[in-house]
Symmetry: C2
Subunit: 162 residues, 2 copies
Amino acid sequence: MVVTESLDSTRAAAWRAYIEASQRLFTQMEDDLRADSDLSFADYHVLVLLSEAPGQRLRMGELAGRLVFSPSRLTYQISSMQRRGLVSKEACPDDRRGSEAVLTAAGLLTLTEAAPHHLASVRTHLMDDLDDAEVACLTRVFDRLGRRLRAARTTSSTHATR
Amino acid sequence: MVVTESLDSTRAAAWRAYIEASQRLFTQMEDDLRADSDLSFADYHVLVLLSEAPGQRLRMGELAGRLVFSPSRLTYQISSMQRRGLVSKEACPDDRRGSEAVLTAAGLLTLTEAAPHHLASVRTHLMDDLDDAEVACLTRVFDRLGRRLRAARTTSSTHATR
DNA sequence: CCACACTAGTTAAATTTTTAACTAGTGCTA
DNA sequence: TAGCACTAGTTAAAAATTTAACTAGTGTGG
């Protein structure tokens, strides 16, 4: 085994299990979402984030940041959702370079129809199998990790790629 | 908030934190790997799996299963690695439909050079920040999850898509 | 044995994502 | 207040991924 130097075997095992299971979980979620709502995971998340935003609108950059999308990927994503009538796009009043994605009525309706199915799928594939301590552990670990990575990216961003 | 019905708020928070942090972590890993070894995450994983396999070779289907890749994605992945000299492909002796991916000497060398950097990146971005209890918790949760999802996919596979 | 349903893997076309270059607007500073 | 570096977002081309159709080989029931 060439590869397990420098990471103790406990942690190596944790890493492997995490990577593989996450991969499976994400593809499972995608499949479920597509099967019962004809949305991608990205579509769904855009809808959720917009639905929660004040005025149900967000700046492109803000949305990209939260979705962990590159700017160009977000442009594509939003224009696809625009074609399907789920969002619209408006010029940003105060910054004329900017634009904002706005949730449409159809988008909101789509979300309200999709949400129960998706949440059921989150439950059956992941959450129902976790006890409270495990949930607490995941929250703690990934909250901390998310904060740290978010910070790292804005810090070293002289040449940040995405 | 339209979306948080049916999943208690503790679990909803865990889900969000997990999704976002994982997304960030995966893109960070990709970036690091590409920066210091000119490999994608997928490239790296293929190299690891082959290096550990007996004869440093695996059937396409086996490899696809472990990587959680669709068959056609794997075909593309392997032919790209073949072009770069990291793997070769051989006909399968016992099943003439099949073929196997085989690690080349160059592939092994590439892996041994890449591994320390990648493992360092796993440590600095994730593992160094976790205590032993957290590592144990992640292993337990994701091992179980992986097993369950693996089982689900082979069970319901009258029409499995990938 | 042999038709037929199934498995392994590839291929071609369409879609998505990345990469790199670019347009336009902002805002600092000299 | 003009120049300049930086930010927001888009676009075009290249690369990766999915989807669907297809080729070839396997193996089983009749």
